[in-house]
Each structure stands twice: as C-alpha cells, then as structure tokens.
Amino acid sequence: MRITRKSSIMTWWLCGMACDRLTATRKWSMPRQCLAFSRYSITSRRSCYRNHRMTAQIQSSSFTSDATEEEDDTIRDADDSSKSQSTNKARPPQKAHRLPPLQTPLDFPDWAYEPRDFFRFEILHQSAKSQARVGRIHTPHGTIDTPGYVAVATNAALKGVDFRHADQANQQLIFANTYHLLLHPGADLIAEAGGIHKFTNRLDRPFITDSGGFQVFSLAYGSVHEELSSKGELKRAGGKSRHYRNDLGKDAVKVSEEGAYFRSYRDGSKFLLTPESTVQAQKKIGADIIIPLDELPPYHIDRQVLVESVDRSHRWEARSLQEHLKNITQQAMYCVVHGGIDRELRTKSVEYLTSLPFDGYAIGGSLGNGKQELKELLDWMMPLFDEDSSTNRRGKPRHLLGIADEESIRNAVVRGIDTMDSCYPTRVARHGTILTMEGSIKIKSGKFARSFGAKLDERCNCTTCTHYDRAYLWHLFKANEPIAVSLAAQHNIQYMSDLMSDIRQEIMDDKI
C-alpha cells in the first residue's frame, strides 16, 4: 500500500493502525482495488473495508454464481497478489457452490400470460407532452385511479386515522407490510378472520402487500436516509458490542439463496422468509396486489455484490411467481425491478422481469442518492417500459416503491409512473409537519400560536381544515394530544389525494 506525500499526517497514522490490525487479525487480505490507498478518503476507505468484509461474509454463507466464475478468479488473483504484499497467511480455498439456474419465460405456463379477468389496467388518456398517463386499475375490491398515491398502513392501520375517513378522503389503494403482519397478528389469524379486508373492515377498497424485502434492508442498514448518510455503514448490532456480527445469534438478518433469516423485533424469535413462504403469507393475508420476495441492496455497494444481489432477486421473484401461479386466488403480482443506478443492471432487470407473466411492474431497489439521481434514473429507465414487446409492457401498471414527496411525484408521473407509496405524509404528520399547497409547514413552530382563523391549507376541505385553524393544531401538538396526530394525518392524506387528483386533471388537459 502506498501513501503519497500529499496524504495528511492523520492518514499516515490511520494507515499504520489499519495495517497493524490487518496483520494481527489476518482475517482477510486487501483486494487489489484498494491498493491505491492514498487516493481514497478516510470515509470511503472505511466503506470499502466494510463492503469487502460483507463480500467475504456473503461469499462464505451463500452460493457463488456460475456466471461469475471468471470474476471469482479475478478476485482470487487479487487476493493472491495482495497476499504476497502482506504478511497474512494463505486462506484455505472455499468450496464452489452452484446456484440454481435462472428461470426463463418458457418455465411458466402459457395460460399465465393471458390477461386476468379480475385484474385489469386501462389507460384513459396518454399525455401528449410526456409519458404521463391517466388510467384505472380494476381489482376485485374496487378501482384505483392513476396516477395515485398509496398510503401505508404498516400494521393494517393508518396512524390515527380510521380507514373509513381515509376512504372519504378518496384514498383508494392502501399498502400493508407483510413482515409486520407476520410478526403480529400473523398471516394465519388474518386468514381466519377472512382476509385483511374483513379483518380491517374495509371491504370495498383494495389492498397491496409487500414481501418483506425492504425490511431485509432496513434491519441491516436502517432507513434509506441512514444508509445514504452513513455511506453504506452497516447498522450496528444491539448490545454492548459495536461490531457487525455474522452470527444469527446476534444479528437481525442473514441473507442466503434460500431466503432471508429474520429475527423478530417483538420477541427475538428467528424465522426464515423464502420466496415461497412470503407468497403463501400474502395469500393468507388476501391483498389484491402482492409483491414477490426481493433483496434491496444499499446504495453504497460494490458492483460485484450488486450484480449478485440482482441475480438473487431475479431468482427469488421467479420462484415467488411460480408459487403464486399455483393458486392465483384473484390476486395480481407485481415484479420489482432492481439494479440500483447501474444502467446495465436496470436494463437487464427490466428485460428479464417483463418477460415473465407478472401483472404489473414495481420500481424498487436503491433509487439513487437524492431526487436528482432518482429523476435521472427514471429518465433513462422508464422508456424501457414503453418499448413494444410481446409482453405488453406499456399496458401494465407501474408502481414506484417508497417514494412520494411532491417533487418526486411530479418527476415520476411525467415519466410514466402510475402509483407510488410512501409513509411520508402520515409519518411527518406525527411530528407536526403539515403538507400544504404553499409547501410543508412545521405546525409546532411558535409563529403559529396566534394564527387564529388561518386554515392549514386554504384549498383543503378536510375535516381538520373545516373545523380547526393553525393555532389550534399548534396548541394540540404542544399539549401532546393524540388527536393532533389524527387531525394532521387526516389532512395530509386528504392533501395527497387532492394533489393526485390535480395531477390527473393536468394530464387530461395535456398540461404535463
């Protein structure tokens, strides 16, 4: 390893410490890519170490891909060359495991490609100015106007808002997390109750459930914001130790080809989430739209690891689809397109997943670091869905996972996104952020204490704006009254519904 004269004294000292530690532990050897040490900043060096350490862990716990044998040789070569420069002992060669082959469209029955009679997407109007389009999704429990916002009811309940009031605010599709429902009350109990519609007493509106893939990510890295800000640093395991451990006894998640091993945050019990089991759970929950199991890699990740993750997600999704086709039960399944911000991987993911008989497409994975990267990602990716193909990509709905701030909504809609979900409106409502046409306002600020008679949003006709003013909301938040959360959440949900309604009208008028 070389350190140039330009490096700071701190860099010299840290490198010395790092070398001593590596020599002492002898756990891994530095790949060739890291030999040009001096060009890296301290932070990126740390993330580089951790990514390679994660690579070593994944390689030790999972199968290696057939397609990456050459890359394995490259890595081994790098290891060998680095070994000659370090004093580490040679590591014993690892057993090469064979991964199952990726399923092709021929592995699925012909009838799976035929249109479903219970799920249909119709395009009412295509904007002349952009890829935006107004449509309607027909499900067994009601219709969804698109572009539409999907509120997130993590535990089959919106925060402080009764579903009936959300429906009155024209909220159509509701998102529920399978992972949380598995932990409590359990898929079997929901099935006993007659499905999520009967369980929540929301019989005439549709639900969508995810697979739990996002929780794989969040348990390891924290929220998306935490991962981006920490530059890929893995979430510290709880307890006294600060080091990430590759032992399921201490970790919250462990990923393998079979599936993902979770540790329940409720009681610490372990369970395995496989592509098949997540589909079975979603069948029991009974949502109208379900999502196959996928892995969400972080933004800061080595490309080789990303490639493996995308391939694994493809294999999982195909397995989930096979399980789903065994008994469709009037449910539609969306695939989840991955690939981070890598154009090649995204294209490969779109091409592969759209060739399979999914009923819709969800854009998932890491969507970039910020709104600008998301916009650029959608710029070059969404036209892929408009290409003429035998699989009718254009005629299927597209869902953007986990993004629903106003600016991103507008960027996504003009590029052809039909629905998007986020817990943002209800989450920020809990903390006193009110969404308005003039931008979001922090109602806890003292300047609203005497805003008597001022509605939260002049254009809004929700129950909160009709009966209360900003001063009163300020007072309720300051007094920590539960109804403050309820009122704020109701307003934010109404705001999102009104926003999407305005956007649909603008598309109809060819304004966007």
Binding site: N155, A156, A157, L158, K159, G160, V161, D162, R164, H165, H180, H184, P185, L189, E192, A193, F199, T200, N201, L203, S445, G446, K447, A449, R450, F452, G453, T463, T464, T466, H467, Y468, D469, Y472, H475, L476, K478, A479, N480, E481, P482, I483, V485, S486, L487, Q490
Partner: protein, 440 residues
Amino acid sequence: MSPNPVDGTAETSSVDCSCSPKREMLHLLLYCKDGCVPYLNPTQLEQYFPPSSGLWLCLSVQDACVFPMFDKPVKKKAKDDVINKKTKEVPAEPKKVRGYAFASAPPDPWLLPYTRVTVPYFSNKNKEQLADNKSICVWTPHGRQRLASETYAKVAMEGLQSNYTVSLFDDAGVSSVKQPDSVRWQKAHGRNNLWLEQLVQVAKQQDALDRIWRPVFLPPSNHDDEVNNDAMTNESQTGSLGAAGVAFVGKWRHGLLTGNNGMAQIPDDVKWKCLLSTTSLLEFVEIAAQGYFNIVGTDLPALWAKEKVALIVQPQRGPSTNEPTAKRPKLDADEKGGETDHANEPTLDFNGCIDMSDKVHARDPRPLVEGCTCMTCQHGGRFSRGYIHHLVCAKELLAEILLFAHNLHHMLELIRLFNEGGSDPADIVNTIKSRLPNAK
C-alpha cells in the same frame, strides 16, 4: 325532600335515592383537556355524539388558554448606518418565546356546539403549590404558570365563552389539610370566597350571573364527621351568592347526603348541581342513581382508552338486539392449556372493563359488545375484538380512538337509561354491581 320508596329486592342497595323527589335530566360532563373532545374529530362527534346525546364538555383554563409571548421589536443598528449612527427597528424573530401567559382564545372554530363548562383546572400536580389572594400556581403544558383571578375571570367569561364557569378555587388548600379549622384551611376558604365574589362582579357587569357556578368542597375521608358537617354547613350557609349552579369538588363518599349534612341544605334555587369528578364506574352509576346531581363529570372514557380497556358491562341482561352472537372459534388445545372454555373468557376488572391487550381476544371475531350501536361496534360495520387486540399490541393510535368512542357511548347509554326513567335507578345499580367482580 320526601324519600322515594325503594323496591324491595334480594340485594340490598346502598344507594340512597331519597334525596330528590323529582329526577332532573342527567348529563355527562366530559373532561376536554385541551379544549377538544379527546381522540374524536368533529365529523365523528357530529355523527356519533350529537349535542342531544347528553354530552357536556368541561374545559379548563389551565391547558386551553396558555399562549406564548414573543419578544417585542428591538432597535438595532443597521449595518449600513454605522457611520451615521442611525438605528432602525428590527422585528424580533417570532420563534423566540419569551414566556407564556393566559390569554383569551377567540370563539370558534375551536368551540363545538356542546354545552360547555369552564373550570380553572382539572387537577394540580403539586398539592403544595402556592396560592395567595391574587393568584394561584397551575401546571400547564408549558410549565408552571401563575393564574391571577382577574385573568381567569376575563379568560373564562370572554375568551372561552362557555355556557357556565366555575369560579377559581384552591382545592389543595382545602382538601390537603387534616383539620378544616386550621389556619391554612381558613385562608383557602376565604380565598375561594373572594375569588367567587370577583367573578360574580365581572358576571354582573356582563349580565351573565346565571353562568356562574360556585365550587363547594367535599370533605375528605380523613376529616372527622362532626367537623365535616360543620364545614359543609359553613359552605351552604355562605350561599351561592347568586350563582346558578354548584360544582362539588373532591371525592364522593357514601353518607355525604344523609342526616343533617350541609349538602342537603344547598338552596333550591340552585339549578345545576354538578359533581366534577368520578373515578370509577360504580361511583358514577351510584351518583347518577341518587338523583341529587344533574351533571356528573368524569374522565373515565379517555382514561380507559389509554389503559386499553373497553367497558362491556351493561345494565340489561343479554343483547339488546336480535343479532345472533357470533360463535367463538374453538381454540387449539395448546392455547387452551387443557382447560375448559370458561378459562378463555376475558376477565372483567372492577370497572366492568376488559383488557384488550389480553391474548384471549386475538382470535375473537365478536364486537366489543354484541348489539352495541357505537362507532366501533356497529355503525358502518364493526371492528372485531381480534382487530382491536391487534391494534393494541401494535401500539396503534387507532386502538385508543376506537376504545374511547365505545367507552363514551356506553357511558352515555347509562345516562340515557337513568333519564328515560323506565327502570328503577336502584335496579340499574344493582344489576351493574352484580356483574362487577369484588363489588361490595
């Protein structure tokens, strides 16, 4: 007051219904800790709890009328005018709060079309708080503040514009002392009378004397009975000073209405007799059954919702509708633990409530109460006990909202039963008491 005949029943009732020959309409006074009904938005209130349901709201100045005070504009030297040494006024940043003060809140849109009663506070945390003839310390959401009597009079009469206002009182000075004839008690008593007189003066100026209620303090149990009688006599002999109503402050005890107790000597022209606080269901129904009070205050529905319990005990036997009771699913042998089904029934607490966090509700498809017409159980479809149990375990706010709506509905149904007069109040109390565990 002529005694009412009490029907002979197998169970002896300790409720004394001999106080009032004529029962007046009973109302439930619900604590609204921040000027609003807890948990429910206006739409839900209008739909499920209209003003005609007998619901009154109790507002307190302690938490509804505290506002921040901001810095006044200060004069600063403008950067460009340093040479000329000119100064200009720079408005202070609105974010900097200088302190808090009680101020009037403008009428509506906060205020809903319910009958409202204003009190200075529901309870003061520190019983040793300071009070003098001019003001009293109260705990607000923004810390401890001094509430002056003139400020209270202005805020309560002009700001909140409630239908009725209880004058400022120092209950700590009255209830915390061991002997009512101590110096501290005498001072607190005198202070309360002084504040009442001040409020009456303000009300006379506004021609709103019929909106004033006088506080009367119920003697605590640690006082001697003889001393209590003297104290109550003193209270009653002071008179209402023209106030339209009397608000009893303190904990209710049996025997306060018997004998030559001073409470019975409250003048008859006092239209409203309100007990501000009740702390249990049995106490609530016994007081409602007596007929002496026509307004009973309570915070029990919200308290129970916070504790995740649901009131299910009813005065009628069996469901009030013909709706068949849903069959409970058979539990697995593992869950049963080899015991009979009775072991899996939820346990009632001393308030006739069931704990919704109990796992026995996890698979229960029934509503909280069969035949209940509340927002949770019946209106627009019902939420099952299993779903509410899930919400409780998931720590969702919706659980408290649903439980509060149900509990409040149930309490108002009890009020309605007493007002209808179809059943003997003693029977209602005995029926409820027979279903409560460990009820005396």
